[in-house]
Amino acid sequence: MTLVSETARRRLRSSRPERAPWEEPEGPLARIGKGLALTAIVLVILGPLYVVLLTSLSSQETITEAGGLVMVPDGLTLDAYRAVLGGGVITRSVLVSTGVTVVGTVISVGLSILCAYGLSRPGSFMHRPLLFTVLLTFLFGPGMIPTYLVVSGLGLVDSYWALILPSAIAAFNVVVLRSFFMSIPQELIDSARIDGAGEFRILASIVLPLSRAVTAVVALFYGVGYWNAFFNALLYIDDTRMWPLQLVLRTFVLDARDLPAGAGGIQQAVDSAPSLALRMAVVMIAVIPILLVYPFVQRHFTKGVIIGAVKG
């Protein structure tokens, strides 16, 4: 079922026209009301980030003076970041999360593209059963306990693969890619075939270059999933030295507990920098990669996601 038609997509691409001639202009009250509502929304979302960023950049004196979180900048310093990233668990967890995110995203995006392209031609051999295998995962989840038993049965406990493989393929993303691939004009693919290209060649030279936007969006989804992986890590990673950032964030920041033994580094760090600033620095470290990638991918959301994905 297609919720978003061809005309919709065209209209999404071209920006919405200004007020139509027949539309009555807004009254001053409506304008003020809308402005206030929008400002409030933006403040509620960006405000916490601003306060946390500022606190992470503040010195102990500023924090003490403010009595906690800092709202007015005063004597900014990178001390907290230096302490947090000066070795020890937090540095290690940042490396773990980065590695898992990069490797996982490459695997997920690669396999999803292949799978989506392989399923993009209705009527091909085994097309229906294969597609059904993918789509059925939408309808019914296997449950936490059996999944845990399979993953631990495969010996993946305390292995980085446990953070990658169980969640490597999201049917949703495969469907997004597949819908997009199917919208590529058939003539292009036919002409490549006439020129002697095989399926792999067609995928690499024709389909992928046309699908950059949707691939970027899918990569963002997978990447964010890996970066944010908390549940899999909680289940499968017992060794604190292998903890990804989200587990450190929970223990060190949310529960405000010191990191478990073997943590090293952080104790010295606590001596040299204020602990609230330290904790807020860890928060920022979890946020920054998303803030860095987001603007580049965000403009493709409507274009890339809605085109294919609107489906249950």
Binding site: L3, F125, D190, F200, N228, F230, I306
Partner: protein
């Protein structure tokens, strides 16, 4: 199910030859080897394609099949194998004995959780939170989408959109951390309250208002993201409808009521069905992370209950039974909700045919 979503346009896709032989002649047959001359599937005689054996089709399509295999393999191992692993719900499973040798006990574990007050508490919490979210979370993205859609200045609109989508990409750990820093006992709001001589906020640790807290967290994180689908639906509305309504004297509100909201109806019904199908799933991370702070009386939901009884206490079979019950119940809910949607003349998740 799938083809309605994806086949667009009227021209048969490549490879659809056999199935669509009645339509316009296929321009090409299913993945003929590029070097070979078009074999049986010449455009003029589609009938010949019907007689293709599966061997020929495999030879023609093997690259496509091969491409899907790694992903399918992962799904088989990490989705379908655990699906079968649910048999332990009917066993007295012990990790030392293994699934094969564990004894079957029938529905014993199911009768166990049916008489377990802790299970019912978790179910009650879950349903309460679902119901609460249906009323207080579900309409927010719709309202927000209407607001965003009414902004004519495209720069402002795009900026606000980017901002409201953003929290969706934060992890629950991060979201709860931010809430704690702002609303917690040592947070910013309490800090300001204390300075002005008031008592600090206790909302992050109060079990009685926990449901408000989790719903606000949900709104903060995902209401913006939820607008995407409504904005897409809004952009499909034929503008001449508005113009005609305006010519007939309908004001802004009447146009919203008679044109915009009906246009959103299919999406609203679809999302409502999906939400109902997930009635027993309110999320795991959000609750496990706050369970210590507010206590299990308010924060125990079915997923955390499965986690504690199964993973933490090692009662695997019992927890698997709860999980299986939850999954089957959810499936039944989604099928039922979809049926209701059909009765109301909506399309639902899948069509009847």
């Amino acid at each position: 199910m799938e083809d309605q979503t994806t086949v667009r346009g009227t021209a048969p896709r490549g490879g659809a030859g056999p199935a669509l032989a009645g339509g316009p002649p296929a321009t090409r047959t299913a993945g003929d080897p590029p070097t070979a001359p078009p074999a049986g599937g010449a455009p003029t005689k589609p009938a010949a394609t019907i007689t293709k054996t599966w061997r020929q089709r495999l030879r023609a399509d093997w690259p496509l099949v091969a491409m899907t295999l790694p992903a399918i393999g992962l799904l088989l191992v990490f989705h379908y194998a655990p699906l079968l692993g649910n048999v332990i719900a009917f066993q007295d499973y012990s990790p030392f004995v293994g699934i094969r040798d564990s004894q079957f006990v029938g529905f014993w574990h199911f009768s166990r959780f049916f008489t377990d007050p802790l299970f019912w508490r978790a179910t009650g919490n879950t349903l309460l939170i679902t119901a609460f979210q249906l009323v207080f979370f579900f309409p927010v993205p719709i309202a927000l989408a209407l607001l965003l859609n009414s902004i004519l200045n495209s720069r402002v609109r795009v900026f606000v959109q980017s901002v409201v989508y953003l929290p969706h990409f934060f992890s629950w750990v991060l979201v709860i951390t931010l809430f704690q820093q702002i609303l917690g006992g040592a947070g910013l709001v309490s800090q300001i309250l204390r300075e002005s001589g008031n008592s600090p906020l206790g909302i992050m640790t109060d079990p009685d208002t926990f449901i408000l807290l989790v719903t606000s967290e949900m709104v903060w994180k995902d209401a913006g993201w939820g607008t995407i689908i409504f904005l897409a639906a809004l952009s499909t509305v034929n503008q001449s409808l508005y113009e005609a309504a305006a010519a007939d004297g309908a004001g802004r509100w009447r146009r919203t009521w008679h044109i915009t909201l009906p246009a959103l109806r299919p999406v609203i019904v679809l999302l409502l069905i999906l939400r109902l199908g997930d009635a027993l799933t309110v999320g795991f991370e959000q609750f496990i992370l706050q369970r210590n702070a507010v206590g299990s009386r308010a924060a125990e939901v079915l997923d955390t209950y499965v986690y504690y009884t199964g993973i933490v206490n090692g009662d695997y079979s019992y927890a698997a039974a709860v999980g299986l019950f939850k999954g089957l119940f959810g499936l039944a809910l989604i099928l039922a909700a979809n049926r209701i949607a059909h009765v109301f003349g909506e399309q639902g998740v899948y069509s009847r045919s």
